[in-house]
Amino acid sequence: MKLYEYEGKEIFARYGIAIPKGRVVSSHSEVPEAIKYVGLPAVVKAQVLVGGRGKAGGVKIVNSVDEAIDRVKSMIGSSLRGAPVRKVLIEEAVDIDRELYLSLTVDRSVRRYIILASREGGVDIEEIAARSPESIVRIHIDPLIGLRDFHVRRLMYELDLPEYGDLYNIVRGLYSIMLDLDADLVEINPLVITREGRLIALDSKITIDDNAYFRHQEFFDKLMSEERDLTEEEIVARKYGFSYVKLDGDIGIIGNGAGLTMATMDLVRHFGGSPANFLDIGGGANRERVKNALSILLNDRNVRAIFINVYGGITRCDEVAIGIVEALKEHGTQKPMVVRLVGTEEEKGRQILEEHGIKFYVSDEEAAKAVVEIARRG
C-alpha cells in the first residue's frame, strides 16, 4: 500500500527526520489557519499517489493567503493524472541549497537491502538511472547484520557529505521505518540541504508490504479509514482477493495463476488480439470466485469478448464450469466467451459446459485464435 506524502512525513517526523513545517487541509476554509502556522511564502501540494505530480501542476508556491486559497480551491476536487485530489499539504517554503535523492529498498537480485542515493535530487530516480547510472550510489545491506555505521559512512563519503552528522539519523530513521512498518520502499526525493546547512525531507514516498498486514492491523485499518484514491484494481483486489490489472484492449482474460494468466494475455496478443485486463483467480478457486471474476469482466464496457483459460491443478474444472454457468445466468450472455479448461476434473467440467451450450477448447492456441477472431468480428 502506498502512503500519501503527508502520511509519510508524519512517520518521518516520528523517526526524527526533519520535515518542513506543514498542515494538511481538505477544504479551502482551513487555509488561513494553515498559512498562519507555516508562514509565507508557502508551498501547496496536492496529495495524490501518482508520480509526476509537479509536472502536472500539483505543486505551487504561493505568496499570500488569497493565492493559497485559490490554489487549494482549484486543486481539491480536481483530478491529477487520473487521481482525485482530496487533500492538500501546505508547507513552509524551504531555502534550498542542494537537492539529493535518498531511498531504501530491496535489491531482489542479490537478496539484500539497498541504499540508493544521488547528488541529483528532485528528479525521478529512473530518469537518473537511465541518464547517468554511474552517478547513483548503491550500498547493499545484508539483512543478517542490518544497517551499520560503516554503511552510512560509505554513503557520506560517496555523496561527499562527511560533515553532515544528520545523515546518520536520517538513514537510521529510514531503515527503522522500513523494518518497523514492513515498508518495501522508503524514499526521500528530494532530500534538501538548506542554506543553513540543515537536511530536510521535502517529499516522502513509502510503500508498505501488503503481506505484512497481520503485523500492523491497527496501522493499516487507520490508513484505510482515510478515503484513499484506490485504483479500480486495488478495490477489486481488496474485495475479492484477485490480482487484477486493467489494460487498454478489448479481450477480457481470466486465468488461474499469475504466470499462466500472463501467458494467456501474451497468446491473445500473439494472434493479433488485444487484452483488456489481467485477472488471476489464484489457486483452488471455487465457483463463487469464478463467478465474481467473470462478473467483473461482464460489467466492463471495454470488454468485447472473454477468454477463460484454466489449467486445473488444485483448481477443479467442474467448480470453474459451475461458476461460469452461474455468472451467465445472473448476467445473461451479453458477451461472447471462449473457455479452455484442462486438468483436474476436466471431464466433469466439460460436461457441465456442454449441458449449458458453452463451447470449450483443449488447446490454448486454438482458444486464443478463436477469441481474437470473435473480438475482431465484434
Partner: protein, 292 residues
C-alpha cells in the same frame, strides 16, 4: 539422477493437520514420496494419512533422524517460525509452499538458510517433482508429468503444469521439475537450478519458464555467456503484454527501473544461445527441433 530430491529423500510435513497440508500429504504419498513425520504444535500424537504428528520439529527429527527434507504448509504468519525451526533442526532441503510471507521475513530467512547451505525451494511455489523416481515434494498435479530427461525450472505454478503437459504429450518427459516460486525473494534462482541440471547426467535438456520482473533471466543469460551452454536450454517468458509499473499477481512480476521487461529478457537469453519460445506450446515444438 535427479536434483534436490532423490530416492532416499525423506520428508517431514510442517502444518500437516491443516486442510492443505493434509490433502497434499495424501497426494504426495500416493505419488510415492516417503513421508515419515508431520509437525503441528498441539497436535502431537495424532496421525495424518498414517503419518505420525509431532509437536515440534525437534521431536520429529529425533524420532526420525533420516528426515532430510521439509515441506511447509503453515500459514504465512507462522511460516517464518516453522522455517527457522526446520533449519535449526538440520534439515537440508526446505520447500515453502506458503504464500504471503512478508518481504522482510523472506529476505532474512533466505539469507540465513543459504549461509547454512540449506536448499530452499520457494516461498510461494509449487515445489519439486521428479517423475523418474516418483518423488514429489509439492502440490503439482501428477497427471502433467512423465518420466524423462528434460529438467524444468520455473517461477510460476500452473504455467509449469501446462508446459510440462505439452512436453509430456510430445514425448519429452521430465527428470526434475522445480518451481522456484513467484516472490521477489526466492531461495533458489535460475542459475542455481540450471547449474544443478548441468551437473545431472540424466538431464539432457533444460526448460526455463520465466516471467517479467526482476533480472533473474538476464542474470541466467549472463551466467550462460560466462560458462557456456553445457546443455540445450529452451526458455519461455510470460508477460510480454504487461505494462510497466503494475504488479501482475506475483509480487515479483512488476517492471520497474526500466528493468525486467520481457523484451530485455528474451533478447538477453537469445544472445546467450538459448532458444526462446513465444507460446507455451512452442516450448514443446522447439524441444522437438533441438532433440529431433
Amino acid at each position: 539422477m535427479t536434483i534436490i530430491v532423490n530416492k532416499e529423500t525423506t520428508v517431514m510435513v510442517q502444518g500437516i493437520t491443516g486442510r492443505e497440508g493434509r490433502f497434499h500429504t495424501e497426494r504426495m504419498i500416493e505419488y510415492g514420496t516417503r513421508i515419515v513425520a508431520g509437525v503441528t504444535p498441539g497436535k502431537g500424537g495424532q496421525s495424518v494419512a498414517g503419518v505420525p504428528v509431532y509437536n515440534t520439529v525437534d521431536q520429529a527429527v529425533r524420532r526420525h533422524p533420516d528426515i532430510d527434507t521439509s515441506i511447509i504448509f503453515v500459514p504465512a504468519r507462522f511460516a517464518v517460525d516453522a522455517f527457522y525451526e526446520a533449519v535449526d533442526a538440520g534439515v537440508r532441503n526446505i520447500v515453502v509452499i506458503t504464500e504471503g510471507i512478508p518481504l522482510h521475513d523472506e529476505i532474512k530467512m533466505i539469507n540465513y538458510a543459504r549461509g547454512k547451505g540449506v536448499v530452499v525451494v520457494g516461498p510461494n511455489c509449487p515445489g519439486v517433482i521428479a517423475p523418474p523416481i516418483r518423488v514429489k515434494v509439492g502440490i503439482q498435479p501428477a497427471r502433467s508429468f512423465r518420466p524423462g530427461h528434460i529438467g524444468i525450472v520455473s517461477r510460476s505454478g500452473t504455467l509449469t503444469y501446462e508446459i510440462s503437459d505439452y512436453l509430456s504429450r510430445s514425448g519429452y518427459g521430465q527428470s526434475t521439475v522445480v518451481g522456484i516460486g513467484g516472490d521477489p525473494i526466492t531461495g533458489l534462482d535460475f542459475i542455481d537450478v540450471v547449474k544443478m541440471f548441468f551437473d545431472d547426467p540424466d538431464t539432457k535438456g533444460i526448460v526455463v519458464i520465466g516471467e517479467i520482473g526482476g533480472d533473474a533471466e538476464e542474470r541466467l543469460a549472463r551466467y550462460i555467456r560466462d560458462v557456456g551452454l553445457k546443455k540445450p536450454i529452451i526458455a519461455y517468458i510470460a508477460g510480454k503484454t504487461a505494462p510497466p509499473g503494475k504488479r501482475m499477481g506475483h509480487a515479483g512480476a512488476i517492471i520497474t527501473m526500466g528493468m525486467g521487461t520481457a523484451e530485455s529478457k528474451i533478447s538477453a537469453l537469445r544472445s546467450s544461445g538459448i532458444e526462446v519460445a513465444l507460446t507455451p506450446m512452442e516450448v514443446a515444438s522447439l524441444t522437438k527441433k533441438v532433440f529431433g
